[in-house]
Symmetry: C2
Subunit: 651 residues, 2 copies
């Protein structure tokens, strides 16, 4: 089995089965123990050696071993194991007391059922006097730590909604009810209460009935429930008669001068590995490390709405099947993902990544005004896309590779706003009323892109450059128009902020490789997405749990076990386990680590402060956030200079 | 003639001819007097009445008169006239002493010839001992005021370059020579000197020879001069079998729910007028008001490199014919522009604007996780594109209209870097060495987008909103996670800065129209392009001449004569005529004007601090800058909700 897999390949179904069979023996009487069987990527030290040999076309002598990371519940205890795939040996088996696995959708279903079956909930629902034909929907949410109720066991918040139509695709977020329940790990309804309805209430203990004036017809999005679709958009077809420009061999993609390997896991979803351009190493790994969606409504229990959609929910297990609906045009190559069922069988996640090309307008153009001759090249992009659904919201995650050796990472937020009830006529300063009785509370989406560079090797540095006016008056700046760049190579692990007013640029450089023409270190610069950082107070649980939200750019020394900016176990985490804590801990114990000419990792936090507009309702047009990585004096010239000249195809 | 033109239509060739014939009579002995015959857009007061009637389907009773603005040189005096197109009456005729018309390419050609024919220049060139077969190219530049040489007459800076190949499309910017000349309006070479070659020199009076070690082969971009083009990019075709989704009637475009009128003039190039969505008025006029490209090299004479590519060069007269080369795909409608020859004949500028559609991925998507049903719509954009060539550089200017009622304005910078000589082995802190002996100096590109809103009418306001954490500790924010928005409606004309850390949002609102659901004023928000502002010292001529470069957002009260953020006449301007001066003057004389519930104009300054990378050489991959305008509680919900659901076309 070993020889056929590349070390970065996700575990195959056969490997998952093999591991499951081994681990299942530890719990012969329990069939439903599995949460995760995923590749534990090889230690970087081994991979660096392996890749060096692989890319010199020598047969690698030492292939890193295949190791599986396994999450299982045995006798209600949460185990994390490492298992050697090749020889079946259990390398380690840790019980993680007080920690929880990522969201268990089967458990969530049971929570819903338990909640609805609870007689007190039924009584509470009856007291609402809902319209005839209404169906109550329980929307279970993981519990965001707020300091009031932080026990070791899992708690699920059950937010209640109402579906008025018989159509199961009717938008129940249009009818948030003011009843909420908490359900324990053992499926007991432990608390039931009413939600606040006005700005000054903490909790609402009036047993109010549902206000029938809230019933409205403008909140549907499903085509079966809406009318008057526009018919003016005429078809636009993309065809690639000679096929795509990319080649796929297993998980390795070759396109134009790029090569890279696609990975996929239950948590981060799509990951990219060993990214090279024209044979030169650029990035060891690119991934969405974490994301956090805290809500800004201060009233209890809303501070419990703070979702780690990667760490808690899983960008992999929630990935859409991209063959359902038209998610892209042209020639498409889909990749499947593999997960595990609770019984230990391989679970196919079909078509979770798509690979295709798009035209992006002009790549470069010049007209010689003396001859009138125009030379135009068109820009083709390679697109690697994955889309996740986390309850109400959708996120589209896209890597774009350009012929000019640029990489862009785009996030599109779409789907349906999370809603809360509000009395008709009321307003609150932390939300927008998007329909009668429907409050869309303010919230933030904070993403952390993990960029593990390997620019011409693994010893890289981070340089912060600013453009500054030259002193004036000054003899060397007689007209007051001169400006130069100042730069600092960052010495130690730290978090930093953006400053567009100084044109602050973060460049990853290899100080041991100078560009032979410019005389400066080869590098790539980050084109950041300018965003507000986390608004929650530094002493709040939101802040403590999502430390990456405090700064836009972080640099750390590489560690095999530091992939997740908010820590490894985010479910009901108490904080203090994220990127700031890693750095602080090392500084505190005198192990402050240099990040100059070392194996470093860059982390970019970006996102949106999403104060909903009514135009985001009932389904939100994509909001785009874009991050770029561009070569700076890395190559010998425009990497896309050799792209074919485009002629007008017809007149 | 009058009835067939819409008041926003550019002057027709017939109208240009008519005006020329009238004006020509003023200078019967001079055949080459014309610089500009363009539409003087009707006073807004008249247009507001006209449009109100037009859109209520009543026949407009009073159609604003067609007025031409004319720039002519009569007896060497620069005249600006207004002429009534209908009755041929010359309404006004002003002589603009000490001012200059926009760049005259015929004059520039004469300058080139005069420079090359000058015996002292020839002697200087001989002293360079250029390689055999070299052709010296004179690149004339308008003179940016630096305080040293500010006379009333036109001065042209002549930068010398060398073309080594016989091919006229060889890249002569690869060989900047160190000779520079100044040529007077009357075509005399008034000064010849050498350029500095090191960081500390002000001017170089050594008569150095050309260093033959600078000869290299890596700076060509033209396909006839480059080899090894990649052949891996396979064809990608866009077809629209049922034609485009837009309709064009004259200059009026109807697409999806949008209507707008396209305008074009010699200066701003493409302009857009009377932009409406679903019948509701959004913007009266959108245009690129000005752009400024100051160079950061402090050494004399480089402070004279500061280009107003709109005000001096003209985004209209420099617009590319978009049928030459493949500038877009799919079904394309081209618009011609009309200008005037120096002799007064209509000059067609063919295909200067293209109108087409592109697919932009997903517009919105939601999967109901309970039913598994995915609903996806694709985003179609209407693209209005124009591309200009200003000597070495190209700019692509694109308006995108979305089905979600968003507008985006994209600028792509491409073309060839402006270069200066540098000794081999030297470095300077204000430029990048991109090839042997070739310095690409640091510079900025600052654009000013003029946004003339008409949200549900012409009385609008500007609101500045910020997202702020709620006080903590505080009884209403017990968990420290609450945040709200603060807002200020701007009272007076002013310039403001961006602040992403506060999520500062600039919203144009109509305070007299409340959204019936959200209860807040209808509005559109600016999605700014975060950019460094002008680096030149406030007391420098660069700053004084490009006042718009001091702040990212400006708001003014509408005036018919305030279209150009750096003033009407930018050629060798001395400053003090731009947007800050307008405001200051009104504040100084007590005529400080309210911009609340008034007819206001928003101006957004953005751009790039372009410290060249070698990857920008020899031709630069497009650098994108994007600005957006999005509805905020303007509509009743997602304006793209009714877009047809997309199905996968094939598996």
């Amino acid at each position: 089995m070993r020889q056929k897999h590349h070390p970065f390949d996700p575990l195959s179904p056969d490997e998952i089965t093999k591991i499951a069979n081994i681990v299942r023996e530890l719990a012969p009487n329990d069939q439903e123990i599995f949460r995760v069987i995923t590749l534990a990527e090889p230690p970087k030290k081994e991979m660096v050696e392996y890749l060096a040999l692989e890319h010199t076309a020598l047969i690698p002598l030492v292939k890193p071993g295949r190791i599986a990371k396994v999450h299982v519940y045995i006798a209600k205890e949460f185990h994390e194991m490492l298992v050697d795939v090749d020889n079946g040996h259990i390398i380690s088996d840790k019980v993680l007391h007080g920690r929880h696995s990522h969201v268990d959708s089967a458990h969530m279903k049971r929570v819903e059922t338990a909640c609805l079956q609870d007689s007190r909930i039924q009584k509470e629902i009856q007291s609402l006097r809902l319209p005839e034909g209404a169906t109550v929907i329980v929307e279970p949410w993981t519990y965001a730590t707020d300091g009031m109720n932080d026990v070791n066991t899992r708690i699920t918040m059950c937010w209640l909604y109402m579906r008025l139509s018989n159509n199961p695709d009717a938008n129940y977020y249009a009818y948030p009810l003011d009843v909420v329940a908490e359900v324990s790990d053992s499926l007991d309804v432990t608390k039931i209460y009413r939600l606040p309805s006005g700005a000054n209430e903490q909790m609402n203990n009036d047993k109010k009935q549902f206000d029938h004036n809230k019933i409205h017809t403008s909140s549907e999005y499903h085509p079966d429930l809406t009318h008057g679709r526009r018919t003016t958009t005429r078809p636009l077809h993309v065809s690639q008669p000679e096929g795509p420009s990319f080649k796929v061999d297993g998980n390795c993609i070759t396109w134009e001068k790029w090569t890279m390997r696609v990975g996929f896991n239950y948590r981060e979803g799509m990951t990219l590995h060993d990214i090279r351009y024209d044979g030169r190493s650029l990035f060891y790994r690119l991934s969405l490390s974490e994301m956090f969606v805290p809500y800004g409504d201060p009233r209890c229990p809303y501070p419990r709405k703070g979702a780690f959609d990667v760490g808690n929910d899983g960008a992999g297990v929630n990935a859409n099947n991209l063959k359902v609906g038209c998610n892209c045009l042209g020639h498409i190559k889909h990749f499947d993902g593999w997960h595990v069922t609770s019984s230990g069988f391989p679970l196919k996640l079909p078509n979770v990544i798509c690979c295709h090309e798009v035209d992006d307008g002009i790549l470069w153009k010049h007209t010689n005004f003396r001859t009138g001759n125009a030379v135009v090249t068109r820009s083709r992009l390679l697109v690697l896309q994955t889309i996740i659904t986390v309850s109400n919201y959708e996120y589209v995650f896209i890597f774009y590779f350009g012929q000019d050796a640029s990489i862009h990472y785009e996030v599109r937020a779409t789907g349906i706003l999370s809603t809360a009830p509000i009395d008709i006529g009321d307003q609150v300063p932390w939300g927008t009323v998007v329909a009668p009785g429907v409050l869309a509370p303010y919230h933030q989406h904070l993403f952390c892109l993990r960029i593990d560079p390997a620019l011409d090797g693994h010893k890289n540095s981070l340089m912060v450059e600013e453009s500054q006016p030259m002193p004036f008056p000054h003899v060397s700046n007689p007209f007051g128009i001169g400006y130069t760049t100042t730069f600092e190579v960052i010495g130690g692990e730290s978090g930093m902020d953006l400053d567009h007013q100084k044109n602050r640029v973060f460049k990853i450089i290899n100080e041991s490789r100078l560009n032979s023409t410019t005389g400066t270190p080869v590098g790539f610069k980050l084109l950041p997405c300018y965003s507000q950082m986390l608004l929650a107070h530094p002493s709040s649980y939101h802040s403590k749990r999502s430390e990456f939200g405090a700064h836009a750019v972080w640099v750390t020394r590489y560690s095999d076990d530091e992939l997740y900016a908010a820590g490894t176990h985010t479910m009901q985490s108490l904080g203090g386990e994220g990127i700031a804590s890693w750095i602080k801990k090392r500084q505190g114990n005198g192990k402050d680590r240099s990040v100059r000419n070392e194996d470093i990792v860059l982390w970019h936090t970006f996102g949106s402060t999403h104060n909903p507009r009514i135009e985001d309702w009932p389904v939100m047009p994509c909001e785009k956030m874009i991050v770029g990585l561009k070569p700076v004096n890395f190559f010998d010239g425009n990497p896309g200079l050799d792209v074919l000249i485009s002629k007008q195809e017809k007149d």
